[in-house]
């Protein structure tokens, strides 16, 4: 079957078997290997991308189901070369160890931040429950988000507008 959609703003089109998962098409056909595969059952969250702006496990979507959609992958987050403030916060806080779960974490958290400008610790943890990490104990990831939220609030309070 032919499926066509946009990945990080670029139109893509490919002839794929109906069973091909979006994550496999991204990785194998399009070479977007920043999106990872960590499990076979939709548990680990390493494959999270944005499908029409919503964080989605790309191992739970068939490539053909993405037809017409806007897909954003980790490669689209810092396409201009600059780290997104969330990525920078993760860097500063040492929120990355092996880095395998990181792309999925970043994509999930960007969705959280898009919907909630000042999530609580409990909200951050709850949002991350679909992203498994075995290295960090989640500490530095949660702290990075808290830092980012705090600095965004500081900027807002100072009249600097949203980051």
């Amino acid at each position: 079957m032919r499926t066509s959609f946009r990945v990080n703003g670029q139109p893509v089109s490919s002839e794929v078997e109906p069973r091909v998962l979006l994550v496999d098409m991204l990785r194998d056909e399009l070479g977007s290997t920043g999106t990872k595969v960590g499990c076979d059952t939709g548990q680990c969250g390493s494959c999270v991308v944005h499908l029409n702006g919503v964080s989605t496990k790309s191992c739970e979507v068939l490539a053909v189901q993405a037809g017409g959609a806007d897909v954003t992958t980790i490669e689209g987050v810092s396409a201009n070369g600059d780290l997104h403030p969330l990525q920078e916060a993760l860097w500063v806080r040492h929120g990355v160890q092996c880095g395998f779960c990181t792309p999925g974490m970043v994509m999930s958290l960007l969705d959280l931040l898009a919907h909630s400008s000042s999530p609580t610790e409990a909200e951050i943890r709850s949002w991350l429950a679909g992203n498994l990490c075995r290295c960090t104990g989640y500490h530095s990831v949660v702290r990075a988000v808290q830092d980012l939220v705090a600095s965004s609030e500081a900027i807002r309070t100072a009249g600097g507008g949203e980051r």
């Binding site: 920043g34 990355v96 880095g99 395998f100 792309p103 104990g137 949660v142």
Partner: protein, 790 residues
Amino acid sequence: MLRGDARFTADMALPNMLHMALLRSEHGHARITGIDTARAQQMPGVVRVVTGADLADKLMPLPCIWIPGGVESHFPPHPFGVPGAGPVLAQGKVRYIGDAVAAVVAETAHQAHDAIQSIRVDYELLPVVTEPQDALAEGAPQLHEAVKNNLNAYWTCGDRQGTDTAISSAEVAVELDLYNQRTINSPIEPRAALGDYDPTTEEYTLYASTQSPHNHRFLLAELVLGIPLNKLRVVAPSVGGSFGTKGYLYPDMPLVLYLAKELRRPVKWVDSRNGLMRSTVQGRDHRQHVTLAGDRDGRITALRCTSYANLGAYPSTIGPGVATALMGRSITGPYAIPHAFCEVYATFTNTVPLGAQRGSGRAEATYLMERLIDLYAQKVGLDPAAVRLRNMVAPDRFPYDNGLGWTYDSGDYATALNLALQHSDYAGIETARSEARERGKLLGIGIGSFVAICGVGPSTRMSQEGMLGGTWESANIRVHPSGEVAVTIGSKSTGQSHETTFAQIAADALGVDVASVKVFQSDTDRTPYGQGTYGSRSYSVGGPAVHLAAGRVIAKMRAAAAHAFGVDESAVEYADGAFSVVGGQQKPKAFNDIAMALWYGWNLAPGMEPSIDVTTFFDPPDFNYPFGSHVAVVEVDEATGQIELVKYVAVNDTGPVGNPLVVDGQIEGSILHGVGQALMEEARYDAQGHLLTDDLRTYAIPRATDAPFFVLDRTVTPSPHNPLGVKGAGEIATVPAAAAVSNAVCNALASFGIRHVGMPITAEKIWAALHEGTPASASQSTPGVPVGNP
């Protein structure tokens, strides 16, 4: 990594690459009476199908390189006479549900997996045994011809007679049957391997998720493929966590190399989560009877442990050593116990091979010691913290021989515990308990004090412990003419930030900006030898190698500067990145000026070689022993049995800390591993040897919602065994965590007369214990029951 641009093995693609899939056994134990691959060979895209029969004279079995030291041991055969660890593809028999039976190579991964389904294997089922004690019994199914009664080794340490006497004459003794349950390490990246072969040079390259590239190169070339070492290069791209699982040889590694040569095309294999669960080494799995004896005043006099260690179907690359020495010699923990003895029956069963899991051996030892000391304190009516403080090795007793084979290097164990007690408001716990009670919650507090042998280790000593290979590290420092520095190390990061910490060691010792230092690792063709990243050894064994190399670099540059200044070396000082003559008027020469002068080599002192390129080796004189105390506070919901970890304090001593962010990151992550074992993780097999927990739906690992922020603090006691004074850090916090959490839960339930709850402590187990009047003292899990308390 943050941009998604880190390359893991599964992300790699080579031109014209083929894909391999493995057919694994569906049975715990069976004879293969026939394999029909005809249909698979005809499937679209299939290039080659191989079975054990095709490889019998092509690839040797995998070797085992850490055997139980100093005792008779029995292994499957290997043609080189070294201990064998099983064939690459099953030869006539499967012994566990992950045994690889056949491999298919096809144009796409989908095609390879499709074809795997079409292979027909006829099995004659054999009786299965999954428990060590059953495997040792008369009439038990026999796994290996060369291993009588499935006993790999009976291993002991300590003073059997003195311990037995001390126990039988003691005022007080407490006993416990424990099951330190089998766990699945579960790095988020499943393993992968990509083999390439260059017919012109006859050279192989293996790209793989390995934490020990040099070791794997040596073992694969010499003992599996039978090729010259110079013909194999091993590269470890980014590795997505390991925690002990990726330091092993697995069948896929020689297979992709062999097939790449046969087919003259690169061959790639990527594991699935299910495959990982079924075939990547698992952890822990000791069934133990343990006894602690002491007097009525809380002074411990003896400790005894009998352990049945489940090695799985084959010895993994280092599994037998982990299950014996690393556990047995560690059982007394931070306490001075006059008489101690440990015996281990290392046994084969029809389960996934056992390996290391973060904190391996030491975590099992700490769990038994820390559960016993709580029960002992309860029995003599003393506070468990006070009993610990009374028995800890005092600071003036180092180096301290623990009587089981370890000589602790340095420490102040009581100070770390006292600090942890302060942070956890131990003194005010009864107030908190009453307050929680009003909310329907049972509050409990538990301590886990530990010492963890790390920094493997002195090569000679490790050979006595059964390690078949050296355990030193090396480093190379090259100073470029620009003054930039390249540090090349033999060990390999799997997420421990070697790039950062090793650069800092070099920058500190060289007096240069860390930004000018680049660390190279991962590639056997580009790096000096190293034995790999395991046992929390990279920083404390590899780090000193970098430090020593930097010292030699500065010595050479000082000599070059002295020659340039026309003075004696002793008159030259190096500070703030420049060499100058003490008290002299000459203009100082910057680090990069000397580097440039040595690179040009126009005016060198007599006998001095140009350029700066130094390689050093570090083989520590002994191990190092980080230590600490953790305190967990839990609330148990009396109505549901639900457990909430409300506070966790961890005071650790890893010696001087290079990068606190990195070390704390390791501590935080490793605590959560221990919490996972305490509360949710367990690999369960049914009586036929089927793994019931073979994906992340059935095997729980902690999520972000499962723990609060941990409270971390540290004490700093240098180790005398390396020039940096550092101790291991990567896995140490896992060591006491399961014990601390278990003790906290048991403390919460103590008023109900519940003495012990086995791990994983699930809500169901607690509820049953609280409401059904069935004391959960038996920690045995019943094969065949997927969840809950038997």
